[in-house]
Symmetry: C2
Subunit: 407 residues, 2 copies
C-alpha cells in the first residue's frame, strides 16, 4: 500500500500488514519456557543495540500489574535509553502483592544479566492469568537459550510468544524512503482476548531503525497509541497489564520527525485493526469515522459513543441496516451537536441527513452492513477535525467465550 | 415492606411492588386503538383533577422525539399545572420531521378536547417504531372511549397499554402514614426493550395524592430519577423517547416534603428494579452498591463503571465468581482511589481487600454469583457518600433479540 499524498521528499511509503522483520540493529526471539500449560511459546525477547531510545505507554487502570509499575520506574531511571523488552504470557503477575513486585524485579534482572546491561535498561510485560504468582524460575532457566536464539529473523517467534487467547499473531511494518534513504518500522501486538481468569491485555512492541531521541520517541508513541490502540474496543474494559513499548536503534540515521511519527502511527493502526478483527467472537470490523468536528476530542467522543454502543454492535452482528441506533448514539454522545447538520453514511450511502432518515431503501443498504468490514462515516458539520474508532460486532460468540467456556 | 428507621412522626411506610392503584383524584384507562399490529393495548390515559401539579424528566439525547419536544414546551407554558398524560405505544413518532411535530400537537389537542382542558395542560409520550409517522387518526377515533373508560380502577389497563417488548407490566406503590393521615404514591413504567426498528424507551408515570407545588414536584422527580431510573442499565443506550412524568392531585393534603420525596423515590426504585429484571435476555439482576465514597458522584462513577462492564456482566451470566473483573472495573473507573483501601464483597463475602484477592475459596463464592440477584458491594474507604446501580447479566438472549430476531 502506498500513500497517495506524499511530501515531495518522500519517495515511497510502503506498509506491509502481513508480516514484520526486525529493523536494523534489532534481534528477537521466542520460545516456550513452561508458563503456559498448553506448552505454547510464552517468552519473547526484543533486543536493541546499546544506546537505543526506548519509550512506553501504560494502562491507566489503578489496579496495575507489577511489571507495569516496574517498567515505568525503569523508563524514568534510564531516561529512555535501554536495550531490551522481555515479555511472558501465561501469567499476568497482577494482584500478586509484594511477592509479585519481587518477581518483576527478578525478571528484569535475569534479562539484564543475560544481555549484559543494567536492569534499568530493560522493560518487561506479563500477560495471562491474574492472581497466581509468576514462576520466575522457568524464565531464569530459559533465558540463556532465549538470548542465544535472538536473531534478525526471530520476530515471528517473538510475536507468537506474546499471544494468549489470540487466534493469530499480529505483525505489521512500514518502509519509508526519504531523499534516497530508507527507514523501517516494525511492530507486533497481542489482542484483548479475555477468558476467565485471564484479563484483557493489549501488548505492543514497535521498533524502528530511524534515529529518534528518547523524548521524541515517547511523544510519537503516546500520540500513535492515543490515535490507534486507544481507539479500538472489543468490550470497553481496560486491563491491569496493557502496555505498548517502542525502541529506536538509530542505525538508519536521521529522518524528519513527522515522517517517522506517521510511520509509527501507521504500523500501530494496522496492529490495532488486527486486534479488533481478532476480537472475541467478532465476525466483522466496524470502522467509525467522524469528520467535520470542531476538535479532535469532539470527533473522538462521537466516534467512541457510536463504536461502543451495544445496540449498534449487535445490529451489525445481525447484518441489520438499522440507521436509528447509529443516529441515537450520535445524539447521546454528549457533544453539543446540531442534529440537523449531521450526515451519517454507511458504506458510502447517506442514511441520515437534515435531522431525519434519508429513506434509502433497506435492500440498497443491506450490503453495506453485510460484509466483514462495515464503514460508518459521520460528518458533524461543525469544523475540520476528525477521528476514527475501530470496534467489532458483538456476537453470541463473545458471550459464550466470556460467560460459559471456563466455568 | 416497612422501613425500619422511620422519623417519629411517620407511623407507617408501606411499599407494594406487586401492583398499583390510582391515588385519590386520579383515573386511568388503557385500550387498543390499532397502532400495534399485534392488536395489543397501545393507548393509555392518566387523568388528574383540575389544578394538579405536573412535572417531567426527559431524555438528554439530542435526537429527541416530537412528543418529548412538545411536552417540554407544555410543561413550561403551564408552569407545571396540568391534567393529563396520554401515551401511545406502537410508534415512537421520532425522526419524523415537521409532520411528526404536527402529529404530536394533534395528539395533545385530541386529549385536551376530550378532557376539557387547554392543550398545554396535557403531556404526551410515544414509544415504539422509530421513523414511521404516527397514525393520529387512530388516536382520535379511540379517544372518546379512552376518556369514558377512565376510572380509579383503570391503572392496570393503562400500565399494559404503555408496554412494547416488555414481558410484563411494571407497577409499584407506597402508602405513607404521618400523624394519622395517609398519602399514596403509585407508579407504572415500561422498560428498555429494544428490537429493531424500535428504540429503547423508558417511560414512567408517577402519581401522588399528596399536595405538592409544581416546583417541588419537579425537584422530587428529578432527584428520584437521577437516583433510580438513571442508575439502571440494560445496554447503556439512551433513547430518543425516554421520559418520566409525575402528577400530584393534592387530595390527601400536605405532608413534609422529604417524606413525599422519599416515597416517590422508593416507588421509582421499585419500577427501576422491574425494568432491569425484565431486561432483554436478562436472567439475573446485578445490584452494585458503592459506599464510603468522598461524594455521591464519585460513588456513582464507580458503581456505573462496574455495572456497565461487559466483562462483569458476562461473568455473572455464566455464574462465574470472577473477582478480577470487578476489581479491574473499579480500577479503571476514573475515581482517584487508593486500591489498597478498597474492599469488594459479593453476596456479603469479601473477595478483594488490601489491594489483593482475599483468597476466599471458589466453592464458597459460587452461590453468591448463582442466584437471580447478585449483590456487589464496594467500599472505597474515602468518605461517607454512597450510590447504587442496577444492571442485568449480559446473555446470548440479549444478542439474539438485538441482532437476529428482526432481520
Amino acid at each position: 500500500m502506498t500513500i497517495s499524498t506524499l511530501p515531495a521528499s518522500i519517495a515511497a511509503f510502503h506498509v506491509d500488514a502481513s508480516r514484520a522483520d526486525c529493523p536494523r540493529g534489532f534481534v528477537a526471539s521466542g520460545l516456550a519456557c513452561g508458563l503456559r500449560k498448553s506448552g505454547k511459546p510464552d517468552l519473547a525477547l526484543f533486543l536493541a543495540p546499546a544506546g537505543a531510545s526506548v519509550a512506553g505507554v501504560f494502562t491507566k487502570n489503578l489496579l496495575c500489574a507489577a511489571p507495569v509499575t516496574l517498567s515505568k520506574r525503569h523508563l524514568e531511571a534510564s531516561a529512555g535509553v535501554g536495550r531490551a523488552v522481555l515479555i511472558n504470557s501465561g501469567c499476568a503477575n497482577a494482584a500478586t502483592g509484594a511477592e509479585g513486585d519481587r518477581s518483576a524485579a527478578d525478571m528484569a534482572a535475569i534479562a539484564a544479566a543475560a544481555i549484559g546491561c543494567a536492569p534499568e535498561e530493560t522493560l518487561i510485560a506479563s500477560t495471562g492469568v491474574i492472581g497466581p504468582q509468576l514462576e520466575v524460575g522457568k524464565i531464569r532457566a530459559a533465558m540463556p537459550a532465549l538470548a542465544d536464539e535472538a536473531s534478525p529473523n526471530g520476530l515471528d517467534r517473538a510475536a507468537d510468544a506474546i499471544l494468549t487467547t489470540d487466534t493469530c499473531p499480529k505483525a505489521a511494518q512500514a518502509h519509508v524512503t526519504v531523499d534516497g534513504r530508507t527507514f523501517h518500522v516494525a511492530g507486533v501486538a497481542k489482542g484483548s482476548g479475555m477468558i476467565h481468569p485471564n484479563m484483557a491485555t493489549m501488548l505492543g512492541v514497535v521498533m524502528t531503525d530511524a534515529a529518534v531521541a528518547p523524548e521524541a520517541l515517547q511523544r510519537m508513541l503516546t500520540v500513535a497509541t492515543n490515535r490507534t490502540f486507544n481507539r479500538v474496543s472489543v468490550d470497553g474494559d481496560t486491563s491491569t497489564n496493557d502496555c505498548v513499548y517502542a525502541m529506536a536503534s538509530g542505525e538508519a540515521g536521521d529522518f524528519p520527525e513527522q515522517v517517522v511519527a506517521d510511520a509509527i502511527e501507521r504500523v500501530c493502526r494496522e496492529l490495532a485493526l488486527k486486534i479488533v478483527r481478532d476480537g472475541e467472537g467478532a465476525k466483522k470490523v466496524i470502522h467509525v469515522s467522524v469528520s467535520d468536528a470542531l476538535t479532535e476530542d469532539e470527533a473522538e467522543q462521537v466516534a467512541r459513543t457510536v463504536g461502543s454502543s451495544l445496540l449498534v454492535r449487535t445490529a451489525i452482528a445481525g447484518g441489520d441496516p438499522n440507521w436509528g441506533r447509529i443516529a441515537a448514539a450520535v445524539g447521546r454522545s454528549g457533544a453539543p451537536l446540531d442534529m440537523n447538520q449531521v450526515v451519517i453514511r454507511v458504506g458510502g450511502l447517506s442514511i441520515f441527513a437534515d435531522g431525519a432518515p434519508t429513506g434509502v431503501a433497506r435492500e440498497r443498504l443491506a450490503p453495506a452492513f453485510a460484509g466483514p468490514d462495515v464503514h460508518i462515516d459521520i460528518s458533524l458539520g461543525r469544523g475540520q477535525a476528525d477521528a476514527t474508532y475501530l470496534t467489532c460486532d458483538l456476537t453470541e460468540g463473545y458471550i459464550q467465550i466470556n460467560a460459559y467456556y471456563t466455568t
